[in-house]
Amino acid sequence: MANTLLNQIVNIINAAVLAGVPLLLGTTGEIITEKSGHLNLGVEGLMYIGAAFGFAAGYYTNSEALALICAFLGGVLGSVLYAFLTVTLRANQNVTGLTLTVFGAGFANYIGDALINSTASKAVSLSAEVKAAFNPVSIPGLSALPIAGKLLFQYNMFVYLAVAIAILTGLYLNRTRTGLNLRAIGENAAAADAMGVRVTQYKYINIMLGGGICALGGAYIAIVTCGGTWIYNCVSGQGWIAVALVIFAGWSPYRALMGSLVFGGLSVIRFYLPGGYVPPAMLSMLPFVVTCVVLVVTSVRSARGGNQPAACGVNYYREER
């Protein structure tokens, strides 16, 4: 009995990690973007673009590495659009981000439809080799450990990649000169400008970097969650949870690791609780209820000086006083 309970807990944590990875990538990407003073609400759209680029590249090249690289580049392209509109043309950031969401979803489904219609069976799947590259890893000696094996050493390589990206992002933001300059821009672009930091260049590069990481989250959904088969509307709202998670994580990639595990856990817990007691609709609300609570808590906290970059959401005009 105790053994099955333990197994069940291990299963929940395993499922929570898998559910959390696209959220972690979306959140990490958005943290970098917001640190440059730009609120990009287009995470959902970037994820879609990443899903389409990654899937199409994997489909045509049969290479898992190219799939990841193309997904990243897709996100870079999508966020260049955003950066051009908001940094250079100083368009409203919220509206631009929303537009990117709509554009990304439409673009990805268009590509997906084209792929599907190019086959006789009306189903497109990646080749067995590409799929196998994202199977759970098997590390000799470690993966077979009784509990720790399933908890730590039995994920697909995308999971470890996402964790590494989050940790590297934390180091970049907090331990490097470039990261310090970036944070200065997010707090007060005029001051950073006066200090001699190239504001526009920084903004472009970091928005592109953030967009690319968001897009990897979409590639995870298309390649791992959907098992390498193209599914219409595959991202279905996870980009929005990532936007909320940025606040939950207090703009820290390290806390994003914990936050995405919690949100991943909240989204799968309903399938592991004994059924029939709590209405399923209540359980499926959980991640969103927690988001609301977090928003309330953080807005109370930010009244006392929160973690949000002070200039986030405000476009920078050099000559403006």
């Binding site: 219609n117 009306k122 189903a123 219409y232 799968v268 399938f271 059924g275």
Partner: protein, 367 residues
């Protein structure tokens, strides 16, 4: 002046009302429509590429178009229509484009279809999966999908080794629960000890959530995953664990070739073709339609090579009984999962009882 204007308005309203009454009575029967002037409209909730619910509907549409020899300009469809005011707009556009008959294919389109049917008595409205109709120009159609679900349960019951079968379901409503009941009855007809665990996702279409629900059932030790969902994700989850699956809506063996046993499928063309033909003939009547395997509206996809060797013979035998009417799934005695007898020996549930089932059969457990 004022009272005059009001009088005119009242008279105008009366005249309008009289006109619409006379139109109603004139349209109790519909005049034949020459085939080259016919236009048929469809409102879909999803995309025709979803490999599931909308895909199946669209296959029926294409079958109808081919059978009746209509051109692409005569068959109009709206995709990705949500169950809100967008549905009303989609229907109005189809009316404006000159459709004589409009099929709305999702449950949530029902009330919009009903309202517009009253407003446009010259147009025929046919709604899928609901329960409303107006006896004039608005009917509903659905089918006995529980029959092939029972047959797919036989395949699952023979295949399982753990005796645990997972069922990923959208919502706890009569359509879903009745289908799960039929499936479980099929499972236990060949494997009386097996149990079916049902997991509700609260969504018809969400690849991530469907996958997560399936994974939870697999973690529980289920080695066959059946589904009442619109994507093939539960099948893909089963395939990744090296176990088996029973799909839904369309043959899903392209998406999960090593897992798929069979799928209960819809051949919407069987109904849609007949309905459109009756419009051409001027013979359309507002009767509700609830056809089954006998009429070819529902069926089971071909069994794949993944099946137990006994499956084909046992399924053929049960299918023959269903086709002859000797057996119809909900034949007593049937107990629910609390042990209470719901269908007495010798009793057969009526159509109305089948479409309003709110209990789960013995062996079907909510997880």
């Amino acid at each position: 002046m004022h009272s005059n204007a009001r009088r005119v308005a009242i008279i105008a309203a009366l005249v309008l009302a009289l006109c619409s009454f006379s139109m109603l009575s004139a349209n109790a029967e519909f005049a034949p429509v020459p085939k080259d002037q016919l236009k048929v409209g469809f409102v879909y909730i999803g995309d025709v590429s979803d490999k599931g619910y909308t895909y199946a509907h669209h296959q029926g549409t294409l079958a109808m178009q081919a059978a009746l020899g209509l051109t692409d300009e005569q068959v109009l469809y709206k995709t990705n229509v949500s169950e809100d005011a967008a549905c009303e707009n989609a229907i109005l556009e189809l009316i404006e484009q000159g459709c004589q008959i409009i099929f709305t294919t999702s449950y949530g389109f029902m009330d919009y279809t009903e309202a517009l049917a009253a407003e446009y008595p010259n147009v025929i409205f046919s709604h899928c999966s609901g329960y409303k109709s107006n006896g004039v120009n608005f009917n509903n159609y659905f089918g006995r999908i529980y029959q092939p679900r029972y047959l797919s349960g036989i395949a699952a019951g023979l295949k399982t080794q753990s005796g645990k079968i997972g069922y990923v379901a959208a919502f706890s409503n009569p359509e879903v629960n009745g289908g799960a009941d039929a499936f479980t009855l099929g499972v236990r007809s060949v494997n009386p000890e097996a149990e079916v665990y049902i997991q509700y996702t609260s969504t018809w279409y969400d690849p991530t959530v469907e996958r997560q629900a399936a994974e939870a059932l697999l973690d529980l030790g289920c080695d066959v995953i059946a589904q009442h969902q619109d994507t093939s994700m539960p099948q893909i989850a089963a395939q990744n664990r090296g176990v088996w699956g029973v799909g839904y809506n369309a043959d899903m063996s392209d998406d999960a070739p090593d897992a798929e046993l069979c799928s209960p499928i819809w051949n919407w063309g069987a109904y849609v073709t007949a309905a459109v033909q009756s419009v051409i003939d001027g013979a359309w009547t507002p009767e509700n339609s609830f056809m089954g395997m006998k009429e070819g509206l529902v069926g089971l996809s071909e069994l794949t090579a993944n099946n137990d060797p006994r499956a084909q013979a046992l399924i053929d035998e049960a299918a023959a009984k269903i086709l002859s009417g000797e057996f119809d799934v909900f034949d007593g005695e049937i107990k629910d999962n609390t042990g209470a007898v719901r269908v007495q020996t010798g009793q057969r549930l009526t159509d109305a009882e089948i479409t309003s089932i709110d209990w789960l059969v013995e062996g079907l457990i909510v997880k």
